[in-house]
Symmetry: C2
Subunit: 344 residues, 2 copies
DNA sequence: CTGAAAGCGCTTACAG
DNA sequence: CTGAAAGCGCTTACAG
């Protein structure tokens, strides 16, 4: 293995100088730098992270902690959470880390089963900072991580005293609802996520804002919460609506798993989308893109959320004292095939 | 930060003894061990991985390299690869790592755009071993990693001179085809993955094996390759079949993205699944579980593949000289709603 | 701008 | 079975 000493010898400088070059110190003469960099290249030198970390007390690794409900193996049935939301967010993080040489340690973590034990990567001191994905964490958990001196960025929920990035839930729900209204729907239902999630209240705000704006044309509107964030949850929710005799001409949902559950119920009842009823979804995931008909949906740009989170964490590490930021990503409507324009 | 020295002082032993305890050496008297372990607990000592690694030349991290086609952001449309196959496999790896204190560094890697540069985690010497997921790698890439002295486990393809885990493709395809045949289908089509993938040949074998077994009852069977492993690929493949006037009563596919593409075509043609035609899929993913109707599919147990891969890598690290193993995971049929029993 | 020296927290022969 | 000592490859004041 080639070390700093080999490079120093090859370039006929001291190893301190090599170190300074590696760390981009401005203290090195351009000529010396060049000489050292040539030596590094020809010898194929790579800095030993363990040695560096031992000195600097940094790991140059970041932790990506993904909250999971439980450790049960996926059956892929529609009564299971898909995990797609976290997964897609996660894919954006490396994009935001590009150009740095941070490694990313990913860990799935089930708060319910952890009994107070922190994620292994954190406990073992393997990381310089932490991304928290999902809405299963508690404030106390975040505090504990911060007490260890680790910067934290939260994705997908809001917490006090941390940087966070989130979708603009109110706006996104407003956009999907408005689309239904603008295409002439008059009796619309909103299938919300379970009420236990903080976001459900914001979703309601977005839905109602659109309804208020179109108060003249809306004949009726309904709101219902799903029992869970799954296909089955969506299924049960519309079923309840239907069995109460409610007949909307358009439905908006809080996410794609729910939307596909709604589709399954309608499929069973032989109700055609979009001829008999329109459906708009929220989130944008592979589910909505692949199903038939393809779902018109609100893209909340999950990958982009991950990318922004990475930038926030980097900035926080660089300057631990900066004020906390809450970034919000703007949603877009993606028009596909599940909404039909109704005549007035 | 509490170090080995603090523990030694607290337990009134030397720091070498503490080190021996941490590393489960049998050389320590039970009584001494107890004393040290108590000290570790009360002081909350955690071993510094950088220091340990500097000595032992290990990182106690493993690398999970996921092959991606390109770095384009997902649109979630059905002409994009879903990435679900790799993702699901990946989720099983931590299960197999449980009980160890290996960290897992995940990196998405695009061989086509890398221009010979190894994944960062490997190049920077951050890992003691590597998982390779996906079938975009070349033999030379694997060799290069091995030349660095890193053990490798490959998931989802076969290569020479490495441990690997794979689904039993022939058997799985046989199972799905047989299911169609046993339920009385007589004119069946197989929608294969693109021919460039090595597995396509095995799939054909499985399909033909079943057809041969049911030679008496099969009236006709067709085989077609998709242009890509996407929904659109499946769509184009059935479309081609249909436009040639071919009318199967059952279709089997090579994976779920393809199956959903088939569904979209049939949906457009107003052909009902399973009343007019049956569909069996292969893989088991969230796509098949959430779509309507839910797909009857062959579960190849991707998470389990990940788990086994982890065990293989651990064994290889422990004993680099052991013979290479190729593990195969047995598939199961998952009966859902896309196949209808035909009368003879 | 560059070099010599100390030290980060471990592990591992080596003596005893 | 336990302790003293060397050294892993870096970084960082400190002199010069």
């Amino acid at each position: 293995m080639v070390t700093i000493v080999d490079v120093a010898r090859y370039a006929s400088v001291s190893k301190s100088t090599v170190s300074l070059v590696i760390n981009n110190s401005p203290l090195v003469k351009e000529e010396t730098r060049q000489k050292v960099e040539d030596a590094i290249k020809t010898l194929g030198y790579v800095c030993n992270n363990n040695a560096r970390g031992l000195r600097t007390k940094e790991t140059k690794c970041l932790g990506l902690i993904i909250a999971i409900e439980n450790n049960i193996v996926q059956t892929y049935d529609y009564n299971y959470e898909t995990g797609l939301y976290s997964y897609n967010i996660t894919n954006g993080i490396p994009v935001g880390l590009e150009g740095t040489d941070y490694g990313l340690i990913t860990e799935r973590y089930c708060p319910a089963e952890a009994k107070g034990v922190l994620p292994q990567a954190i406990h073992n001191g393997r990381v310089d900072g932490v991304f928290l994905v999902g809405n299963l964490f508690e404030q106390s958990f975040i505090s504990e991580i911060k007490m260890r001196g680790l910067p934290v960025v939260v994705l997908g929920t809001d917490f006090a005293q941390v940087d966070s990035v989130n979708a603009d839930v109110i706006q996104g729900t407003y956009v999907e609802t408005k689309h239904l209204l603008e295409t002439g729907h008059k009796r619309i239902a909103y299938i919300n996520c379970p009420q236990i999630y903080k976001s459900s209240a914001d979703r309601l705000k977005g839905f109602r804002k659109a309804c208020d704006e179109f108060a003249e044309s809306v004949e009726n509107h309904w709101e219902v919460f799903c029992p869970q964030n799954t296909g089955e949850g969506g299924y049960e929710a519309v079923k309840q609506l239907w069995e109460s005799g409610i007949r909307p001409d358009g439905i908006a949902t809080a996410n794609e798993p729910i939307a596909l559950g709604v589709m399954r119920y309608l499929y069973g009842e032989n109700i055609h989308i979009p001829d008999d009823i329109s459906l708009v979804s929220y989130e944008a995931s592979i589910l909505g893109g692949y199903t038939s008909p393809a779902l018109t949906t609100v893209n909340i740009h999950k990958e982009h959320m991950g990318e922004i989170a990475a930038q926030l964490l980097l900035k926080r590490i660089e300057n631990p004292e900066r004020p906390y930021e809450t970034k919000v990503v703007a949603p877009d409507l993606v028009v596909r095939d599940s909404v039909k324009k109704r005549l007035p």
